[in-house]
């Protein structure tokens, strides 16, 4: 049995197609990531999987339960952390946790072992109102609230958005420990660099899954060599590279520009080096973000062709 199984999931809002016939499976005990920007359909998907939305077409199961028919069972066995940490700002840290424990017919004491690792970070502030916590602390409290009823599967919708890198790192470390205890974890994020922390990822863009595999395999999806040039003003290099019709997939990456060359690469490099001084050009391994850029660009081009 899969932790999650989805067949041709479709969700529409009026004129907008939020999900275009998604198919995927997530193994039990796996850490699976949906990676993509706002509007990719991540939140709609998570809401369908947690039984909060009904898909317009297709079906999905969570640990064997149908997300429409068996919503009561799904709500018992899954822990869900919605996009905006849904905490009550006027309740204290402890009161929030107590509340979520009580609605699942349990208590903090009974399941303390589930949240100890995470809750112990914020326990010193348990009398503080949740509204006055820092982003990282809110995130930990929200995770504790999602875990307090001993779920078998966790759905975390953008748990790290807007949180500082230190808390983000701590958060991923906590997830890794939870995974070791056998929990299936489904997580979404807009940060491409977080992909490597998942066993498998699905790259989402405008309601489609562009690619689905392990982060390592996804990085191999770029055909041909990828080059990175640095040394001058990014914008100048960018414009210069665009003057070559043999250069394509030209994207700035901070102070570097990544690009591909069809045909004689060395000739192009020589011209770049003549134009700018102190330039370094190296071949690089594509990152998940590179792949995302290439695949999403291709989708847009296909759409333009379709629209004439």
């Amino acid at each position: 049995m899969f932790a999650v199984e989805a067949h041709n999931l479709v969700k529409r809002y009026k004129s907008v197609q939020a999900l275009n016939s998604l198919n995927f499976t997530i193994d039990k005990g796996e850490m699976y990531g949906f990676i993509g920007p706002d509007g990719a359909g991540k939140t709609s998907l998570f809401r369908i999987l947690t039984s909060l939305l009904i898909p317009d077409e297709g079906s999905a199961t969570v640990l064997g339960y149908d997300v429409v028919k068996d919503y009561r069972e799904i709500r018992k066995i899954s822990g869900y952390m919605p996009g905006r940490f849904s905490l009550y700002p006027d309740l204290s840290v402890e009161e929030n946790l107590q509340f979520f424990a009580s609605v699942f017919k349990t208590s903090i004491e009974e399941n303390y072992h589930m949240v100890k690792d995470i809750y112990s970070h914020i326990e010193p502030f348990k009398k503080r109102r949740a509204g006055k916590l820092s982003g990282g602390m809110k995130q930990k409290l929200a995770l504790s609230c999602a875990l307090i009823h001993k779920p078998e599967i966790l759905f975390l919708d953008e748990p790290t958005t807007g949180v500082d890198p230190v808390s983000r790192q701590e958060f991923w470390e906590m997830l890794a420990r939870l995974k070791k205890e056998g929990l299936s974890i489904v997580v979404s994020t807009p940060y491409m660099d977080e992909a490597s922390l998942c066993a498998r990822i699905a790259m989402m863009y405008k309601g489609d899954i562009l690619a689905e595999d392990s982060p390592e395999a996804i990085q191999q999806m770029i055909s041909g060599k990828l080059w990175s040039v640095s040394g001058a003003r990014t914008y100048d290099i960018l414009r210069y590279l665009r003057t070559f019709n043999t250069c394509f997939n030209i994207y700035p990456f901070g102070q570097n520009v990544h690009f591909q060359v069809s045909g004689d690469a060395e000739a192009v490099f020589q011209q770049i080096k003549n134009e700018f001084q102190n330039i370094q050009i190296v071949e690089i391994q594509a990152s998940v973000e590179d792949v995302f850029l290439h695949l999403s660009a291709r989708t847009e081009e296909e759409k333009e062709v379709l629209n004439g």
Binding site: Y80, R84, L91
Partner: protein, 366 residues
């Protein structure tokens, strides 16, 4: 049960932590009672009048004395020139002018007909109407006393039952209860539910095994308490400060109020299920309910004076039945037998709102 208690506890904390709103909710009944009881007084008291007595005999003096000793009128001016009347009205000091014709007493005794003219400032028509009625009443009374010995084919005797002094505070107590119960039960409940939708916490609650009735009841219960406490304040202030009599059975009175509170809470839940945010919930409660409650329930304007189509509309608002029934119990001391129809209507409305809202209460987000 444990789930429900946990939910209830959380709701109580929300209400208690929001000290400002809580204070407002608890103080509103005091303030409203004071405002309606003292400031907005629809009774006639010391209305300024002027007299133009062209006769100046015993009879006109006696009538004038009667009017002034009634407490409703206060003599501002005595005039002889009809042109002054206009000036006085314009200055706003005088609301009514009494004109006795020449040889008033003589004509009355010899011809049986004497004329007195009443001029009123009708820029406030309700008030003008009342002045004329009061004046007529007092003159009629005087004539009765004059003619006890004489033969009269028809005698009109008027008496104001159930509110002998025409105290408007009697009227306001039932209306105020209706208004505040609607305000607190309906508006606050609908706002408190929609707030969770807006803040995103509804998502977390919905994915829990909580059942709709547990969520709804947990939301409603604390506001039921506040509404009850307000009810107590209004009723107690009514008797002890304004001397409103409770002539009927107290149990029936309380039962009626509790039923109305439950109806209002159900309505609040219904509003919350159809509105997606707090603003919308508030607009529906305010514009859709509070205003009609004030305007159409017979609280300010008598229903019988409304055109038929407005009367029909007013029958859709629960407050109308509540106010009718409450007045009947409070002021007339009527028993259940006489108000069962109203009670049935309110109960029916409550059940309707409750069933629709539990049916409509979404276990999902869309």
């Amino acid at each position: 049960m444990k789930q429900f208690l946990g939910f209830f506890r959380k709701e109580l904390i929300h209400i208690i932590r929001d000290v400002r709103s809580l204070l407002i909710l608890l103080l509103i009944p005091f303030l409203m009672m004071l405002i309606f009881g003292y400031a907005i007084n629809m009774d006639l008291k010391n209305a300024g009048i002027a007299v133009m007595d062209l006769s100046g005999d015993d009879m006109t003096h006696e009538i004038t004395d009667k009017l002034l000793s009634s407490g409703y009128f206060e003599l501002q001016d005595v005039i002889t020139d009809p042109g002054r009347a206009e000036e006085l009205f314009k200055a706003g000091k005088v609301k009514e002018i009494l004109v006795f014709e020449q040889d008033f007493a003589r004509k009355f005794h010899s011809e049986g007909i004497a004329k007195v003219q009443i001029l009123t400032d009708a820029s406030d028509p309700n008030n003008a109407n009342m002045l004329v009625n009061y004046t007529n009443g007092i003159i009629a009374n005087y004539l009765l006393q004059q003619q006890v010995s004489q033969f009269l084919p028809l005698q009109v005797q008027s008496s104001f039952r159930y509110n002998e002094n025409l105290e408007s505070v009697y009227m306001f107590v039932p209306g105020l209860i209706a208004l505040l119960v609607m305000l607190i039960s309906t508006m606050m409940t609908s706002i408190s539910i929609t707030r969770e939708k807006e803040s995103g916490t509804m998502e977390a609650i919905l994915v829990s095994p909580l059942k709709p009735w547990q969520i709804v009841l947990g939301k409603v219960a604390p506001y039921a308490f506040i509404a009850l406490s307000n009810l107590a304040v209004i009723l107690l202030m009514g008797t002890f400060v304004f001397g409103v009599p409770y002539r009927g059975s107290i149990a029936l009175l309380l039962g009626l109020c509790v039923l109305f509170i439950l109806m209002a809470l159900s309505l609040g839940i219904l509003i919350s299920t159809i509105s997606s945010n707090q603003l919308m919930a508030m607009m529906i409660s305010m514009v859709g309910l509070l205003l009609p409650t004030i305007l159409l329930s017979g609280y300010i304007f008598p229903i019988d004076n409304m055109p038929v189509w407005l009367q029909t509309i007013s029958s859709a608002f629960p407050a109308r039945y509540f106010i009718t029934a409450l007045k009947a119990v409070m002021l007339k001391g009527l028993r259940f037998m006489y108000i069962w129809k109203e009670i049935l209507v309110i109960f029916g409305m409550m059940m309707f709102f409750l069933i629709v809202s539990i049916k409509k209460f979404k276990i999902r987000l869309d």
